[in-house]
């Protein structure tokens, strides 16, 4: 326990007071203002704003692409985390460092370069477009940039768990006659599920709100490639502030639900770990 009596060290009131003040001014009051603004609409106006055909299409697309990208990241993340922890190979440290690039690279740069790589005469598009795989300005493109922005999460949640695994457990399974695949499925996979789930939820949450990279690679067409964040911006540009706030509230509600879920998974896996 590193806590001390409030009399032994100074600055408790100043520290806590400033923390609460800054948190309130910058985060809590603005969030309340958004709910307040949305509540200025009548119930039917609110429903009309958040449940129009165009809005529903945008939610479906947003959830769909974020979900597919997060699922893809679970598979890719497990492969990369396993390889980085278990094997030695040339440029291992370099590859490990590259995994963090999506956390540091501005999303606008990611969107710009992905949009340029997957067009017909781009580096990757020249091979993919003749095969009928068109990523630029399509939903596939949105999924691709979301896979990029969410890529580090599963790797970085699974990696430490995998590294801390006790070698004896696997050896015991092998001694008892389990095949390598059985050991993986019955012994290793159950311990990797909680961190993979946390990574999935983090990538999913990130994908729901992503904007910068998406607008570059998507054509942003209503009903087709318009995500919820783009819809909020177009409502704002029409000066429909209350409608924008209403859609934002829907997005916020889902984000906070996910945040609660992530906290729950973390606590659950700590108890059962």
């Amino acid at each position: 326990m590193s806590s001390v009596s409030r009399r032994a060290l100074p600055g408790f009131r100043l520290g806590l007071g400033y923390t609460v003040f800054y948190l309130s001014v910058l985060v809590l009051i603005p969030l309340a203002a958004c709910v307040f603004k949305a509540s200025s609409l009548s119930w039917s106006e609110f429903l009309a704003a958040v449940w129009s055909d165009r809005a529903v299409a945008a939610y479906k697309l947003t959830f769909g692409v974020a979900l597919v990208a997060a699922l893809a990241n679970v598979i890719l993340g497990l492969i990369v985390a396993w390889t980085l922890v278990r094997y030695d190979f040339p440029f291992k440290r370099f590859v490990d460092a590259l995994v963090d690039v999506p956390l540091a690279l501005p999303t606008a740069v990611a969107g710009l370069v992905y949009a340029s790589l997957y067009v017909e005469n781009g580096w990757l598009g020249q091979f993919l477009v003749p095969l009928g795989i068109e990523a630029a300005y399509t939903r596939l493109g949105i999924v691709l940039v979301l896979v990029f922005t969410g890529f580090p999460f599963v790797v970085r949640t699974v990696q430490p768990v995998l590294a801390d695994l006790d070698a004896e457990v696997e050896e015991a399974a092998a001694v008892l006659g389990a095949s390598r695949w059985q050991t993986f499925r019955r012994v290793l996979l159950p311990t990797l599920i909680p961190p993979a789930l946390t990574g999935f939820a983090l990538a999913f949450a990130r994908g729901l709100g992503e904007y910068g990279s998406v607008i570059f690679i998507s054509s942003n067409m209503p009903f087709q490639t318009e995500i919820a964040a783009v819809l909020i911006v177009s409502r704002l540009e029409e000066y429909a502030y209350a409608e924008a706030a209403a859609i934002a509230c829907v997005l916020l509600a889902f984000s906070f639900l996910l945040l609660a879920l992530i906290n729950f998974i973390e606590r659950w896996s700590q108890r059962h770990g």
Binding site: S2, S3, V4, R6, A8, L9, P10, G11, F12, G15, L16, Y18, T19, Y22, L23, L26, I29, P30, A33, C34, K37, I79, V80, L84, R86, Y87, V99, V101, L103, A104, L105, P106, T107, A108, V109, L112, V113, Y114, L117, F148, A167, E170, A174, R180, G209, E210, Y211, I215, A229, I232, V233, L236, Y241, A244, A248, L251, L252, S255, F256, L259
Partner: protein, 286 residues
């Protein structure tokens, strides 16, 4: 450790290693190389021309250099205050406060920008009052700082809380009992102890602040030469019709990419120092 019983068949090992090269290559390495390839595709002269001979681009670079440090400074003061309160004391609501600090990470950047438009925008009471008194927040630099501070809010606090908890209060208690004042305590004991954690938080916070797009996009109004930051100007150049827009967009994007790479190198260099500071033996608790 018995390597034999834990090792996978060779085809699995080579297969997964190959896949990892492929995944990291396609997702990260090729895009990184492509940024610089496209940026320099017309030679060094055009590259620097694109960066420095466009007044709007020059202003965007200047604005980012002003807005990002201000947002980082705000979050540094907050991060130190929050870490001091949370890591050194127990109080009711401590768990809730820790959760609330992470809240901005789960808010979409566009929504973050919208929050400030709703408060300080033209048709909001506070916005109108400020406008009548000659202050402009939205579509002006103050709004950019607020929106950027919001999206980077948790970075410094998140790094400092675990560092301060790991180091423990023993040295501070000793300094206090020897008669150190609050400020002496902070400058002579606490700050030297947390300096690597603080630097780490500042570097991550700054990278995100300089690259922020969604929140800034909404509050800036995208006025060329006035409220465009580097990422917004990248998008404008990308949308410019004709052949010159794309190389110019990539030239500017290469600056941000370089910043990201420097950030990652700094991160790799600081992480061992951070771990050493956290694991430093402290005196047993009384």
């Amino acid at each position: 450790m018995d390597k034999v019983k834990r090792s996978d068949p060779a085809f699995v090992r080579y297969g997964l290693t190959g896949l990892t090269y492929g995944i990291v290559g396609v997702l990260v390495a090729i895009p990184l190389v492509a940024v610089f390839h496209y940026a320099f595709s017309r030679g060094l002269g055009t590259y620097f021309d694109n960066l420095f001979n466009n007044a709007d681009t020059r202003h965007a670079i200047f604005l980012t250099m002003v807005v990002a440090p201000l947002a980082v400074a705000l979050n540094v003061v907050f991060g130190i205050a929050a870490a001091w309160a949370i890591a050194r004391f127990r109080f009711p609501g401590r768990g809730l406060l820790t959760t609330l600090i992470d809240l901005p990470f789960s808010v979409s950047p566009v929504v973050a920008g919208l929050l400030f438009v709703l408060i300080f925008g033209a048709n909001a009471p506070l916005g109108e009052w400020l406008k009548d008194h000659g202050y402009k927040v939205i579509f002006a630099p103050p709004g950019l700082v607020l929106a950027t501070a919001f999206v980077t809010f948790p970075f410094v606090a998140r790094e400092l809380i675990p560092v301060m908890e790991a180091i423990g209060p023993e040295e501070e208690l000793a300094a206090r009992s020897l008669g150190a004042s609050g400020w002496q305590l902070f400058w002579r004991v606490t700050l030297p102890n947390i300096k690597w954690g603080l630097l780490y938080g500042v570097i991550l916070c700054n990278a995100r602040a300089m690259g922020e797009f969604g929140a800034v996009y909404v509050v800036s109004g995208r006025i060329g030469g006035q409220t465009d930051t580097i990422p917004i100007q990248v998008q404008k150049l990308f949308d410019t019709p004709g052949e010159n827009g794309l190389p110019a967009a990539f030239a500017l994007a290469s600056v941000l990419t370089l910043l990201a790479l420097v950030t990652l190198v700094a991160k790799v260099l600081i992480e061992p120092k951070l771990r050493a500071a956290e694991e430093r033996p402290t005196e047993p608790e009384a």
